[in-house]
């Protein structure tokens, strides 16, 4: 009962902040509302005992990604009107996506109604089970080798991004992108 009450509380906050994120005029407010979204999602994950995911969501997304977002939003002089110009033109894509997602969610819920229980066979784990400990143990034993390699992969991404974007000579920069700062290769390429 308590868990259900908490779920509805967090879900309401989540939906409200998600709507606020879209409608807010100030991009800084939008970014802060997205942080709120992440926090409430993390709380909901805690309710379904996915504590590792919840912690990682807060640490990585709130702690690193969103801080970076906020920096960028505050540093760059974004023309909000210009950003909104294409909004109505591409609105149908958004509606279409929303429609598909809604159909999927309804389908998932309805399947349970119709007697197809997708959660069948899932057993709740014992109370003293910690998936953080389990993940940590697996990550550093069974998956040690790929884990270390993934770390090197990140190192390569850093070296590559820096060697491609860092310019020692300033003249070439102004020639390539007159009057503007160079685009951020790192984020553009999704590294």
């Amino acid at each position: 009962m308590l868990v259900e009450g908490l779920f509805y509380l967090f879900a309401t906050i989540l939906v409200a902040s998600a709507i606020g994120l879209i409608v807010a005029r100030n991009p800084v407010y939008s970014a802060l509302l997205l942080v709120l979204c992440f926090f409430t999602s993390a709380s909901i994950w805690l309710l379904i005992e996915a504590e590792f995911l919840a912690v990682v969501l807060v640490l990585v997304y709130v702690g690193a990604v969103m801080v970076l977002f906020l920096f960028v939003v505050m540093m760059l002089d974004i023309n909000v009107e210009e950003m909104r110009r294409g909004f109505t033109r591409y609105a149908w894509v958004g509606w279409l996506t929303a429609f598909v997602v809604i159909v999927q969610i309804v389908g998932l819920v309805a399947a349970r109604r119709l007697g197809v229980d997708v959660t069948q066979g899932m057993v709740p784990l014992p109370a003293d089970y910690s998936n953080t400990a389990h993940l940590g143990r697996v990550l550093y034993t069974e998956y040690l080798y790929p884990f270390e390699l993934a770390a090197i992969l990140l190192l390569v991404a850093i070296i590559g991004a820096i060697s491609l974007t860092m310019r020692r000579r300033r003249a070439s920069r102004s020639k390539m992108w007159p009057g503007k700062s160079p685009p951020c290769v790192t984020s553009a390429c999704g590294w």
Partner: protein
């Protein structure tokens, strides 16, 4: 609880562990001392590669096959051999490109670090025994290579090449991952050795689906025909030093990728992917060899030649027997050595502001730089598959394996396109020996070490061919892994193929020689090249980069008209 490794068998992972440490070491040394002493990082990198090869020989070179790191990693003699070869090829490639990098202000420490990380990616693929490890290795290699393709920031065409490579490569990675996730979802295992047992017999629809995606991704990485679009642009657009690297070291990894993923992990459903690979191989053979004729740029021509050669390597996998895999391995090694030398010559000839990558730049090379011309001639003869050189034996082994498996149609296609391929390889030889230099720059002095290495590289092409039989028996032991799929097969009527191909070549040569128009219209007796009689036999039409009229259509298929894009954006 089982820990997965102990100190005794962890030594088998020495190459990867050492290289990972060495990358950090080189990076740190470059950060602190690289600015002041420009030559330090290149020398250190060569030293790192030499020590790595020595450590691999000392610690990892153990018989038998063993799984490490909870089955994520496999160590066998094939892996050790490919890693040693990787160290060697990377070192020679860096030696060739050192001067080039210096002249183009690309001699920064990051280049060497990225080359080492790419090599680590190659090693990871070579020793992978899990879909996860394969994927991480592919990404490690690909990310490093994207970065070094775009390394020359003054060059718009390099940026374009890198952008194309990155976008298409990211898509291929996605395709690979999608296929892997399907296979994993349906078999419930990531380990390739378990997968070999799980996925066997008639595959379900889902497994077939995943298999198609994996084959597409492997073909993309190889640059095989319907998925070859990126390859000519990247080879042409990248700085020649980078082209030298990406046409050699990653090829080792792609062989291993196909071997570990398909021949090993998917051995249970081999006949399904072999049919797919056969189509890809034939398309690559035909397209690579025909479109190469229409090229006027050396790097681009060699790129299409790569596509053709990849077709041959894939044919080895199509044959599917032990001979086929051996032949594919032999072909990969031979091809890497030949590509290394060919691009090495292009690197040697380039000057500041002069790339030396057009076919026209090779006119009269014999008069200007006899050594470079001789090396290039040997490599071109070898790549074309002319008998005394290693390229012939590589092709011959593939055809032999196909014969054993009964693919007569594939043999005919492969032999036919080899003969077509003679045209553009020998055109280079003709340009070098029978055309006037026309005021092209003379050989520059210095670079003695590079010249010596190039000469050794060309000699290796001859030497490898002469010890072909002993190498083959050596590799037979090495690639014992596929032996479970081998059913005892007797020695083939190989003389039939030998006689057939020699007859084909000689009839073509004779037709050329007896065509009075061709010989008569060539008034350049010119050089005192000792092998001139052989050259005369294989004489080609006069106008240097002439394309037979019937083949002009292929010029329209692909002709690069200089940089059209800058930094991925259309400029005009």
């Amino acid at each position: 609880m089982e820990t997965g490794f102990n100190m005794a068998n962890i030594a088998r992972a020495m190459p990867e562990m050492y290289l990972a440490g060495a990358i950090c070491f080189v990076l740190l040394v470059d950060v602190f001392f690289g600015e002041k002493r420009r030559g330090l990082t290149p020398t250190l990198t060569l030293l790192v590669l030499a020590v790595g090869a020595a450590l691999t020989l000392l610690y990892a070179n153990l018989p038998g096959r063993e799984f490490l790191f909870h089955g994520q990693y496999v160590s066998d003699p094939l892996a050790v051999m490919l890693k040693l070869f990787g160290f060697l090829v990377a070192a020679i490639g860096l030696l060739y490109s050192r001067d080039y990098l210096q002249r183009r202000d690309m001699n920064r420490g990051e280049y060497y670090v990225l080359v080492l990380t790419a090599l680590l990616g190659v090693f990871v693929i070579v020793s992978a025994n899990s879909l996860l490890t394969v994927y991480i290795g592919v990404e490690l290699l690909a990310l490093s290579v994207y970065a070094i393709v775009a390394f020359d920031r003054q060059s718009g065409i390099a940026a374009e090449a890198a952008m194309k490579y990155f976008v298409l490569g990211a898509m291929a990675s996605g395709v690979l991952l999608y296929g892997m996730s399907m296979i994993y979802g349906l078999t419930g295992t990531l380990a390739l050795d378990e997968l070999a047992q799980m996925a066997s017999g008639t595959p379900s629809l889902g497994v077939t689906f995943g298999l198609v995606f994996i084959v597409v991704a492997v073909a993309f990485k190889f640059g095989a025909a319907p998925f070859h679009m990126w390859l000519p642009d990247v080879y042409h657009g990248a700085p020649t030093a980078v082209t030298t690297f990406i046409s050699t070291v990653p090829q080792i990894a792609y062989f291993a990728l196909a071997f570990r993923l398909l021949s090993f992990g998917m051995s249970g459903v081999a006949e399904y992917w072999q049919d797919m690979l056969a189509i890809v191989a034939v398309l690559s053979l035909v397209l690579g060899n025909l479109v190469a004729i229409a090229q006027t740029n050396m790097k681009r021509m060699l790129a299409y030649s790569t596509i053709g050669n990849v077709g041959f390597i894939l044919l080895g996998f199509v044959a599917g027997n032990l001979q086929g895999h051996e032949a594919a391995l032999y072909y990969t090694v031979a091809y890497v050595i030949m590509a290394l030398g060919s691009f090495g010559v292009v690197l040697l000839l380039s000057r500041t502001g002069f790339e030396a990558d057009e076919l026209d730049h090779f006119r009269g090379l014999h008069a200007r730089d006899p050594l470079a011309a001789a090396v290039m001639a040997i490599l071109m003869f070898s790549t074309a598959g002319i008998p005394p050189f290693v390229g012939f034996w590589a092709k011959f082994n593939i055809l032999q394996a196909l014969w054993l498996d009964g693919h007569v149609a594939l043999i005919i296609v492969a032999a036919a396109v080899s003969i077509i391929g003679l045209f553009y390889y020998l055109r280079v030889v003709k340009l070098m020996y029978f055309d006037a230099p026309d005021g092209l720059p003379a050989a520059q002095s210095g670079q003695g070490g590079v010249r010596l290495t190039l000469a050794l590289n060309a000699l290796a092409v001859v030497a490898l061919a002469s010890c072909q039989t002993c190498c083959c028996s050596l590799w037979r032991g090495l690639s014992a892994s596929v032996s479970h799929r081998l059913n005892g097969s007797h020695f083939p009527p190989s003389s039939f193929i030998l006689v057939g191909s020699v007859a084909g070549w000689s009839s073509l040569a004779a037709r050329r020689a007896h065509n009075p128009k061709v010989v008569g219209s060539n008034p350049t007796p010119a050089t005192n090249f000792p092998g001139i009689s052989l050259g005369r036999l294989l004489l080609l039409p006069r106008s240097s980069i002439s394309v037979p009229r019937s083949l002009r259509a292929f010029a329209a298929v692909d002709r690069y008209d200089g940089p059209r894009y800058e930094c991925g954006l259309r400029t005009q």
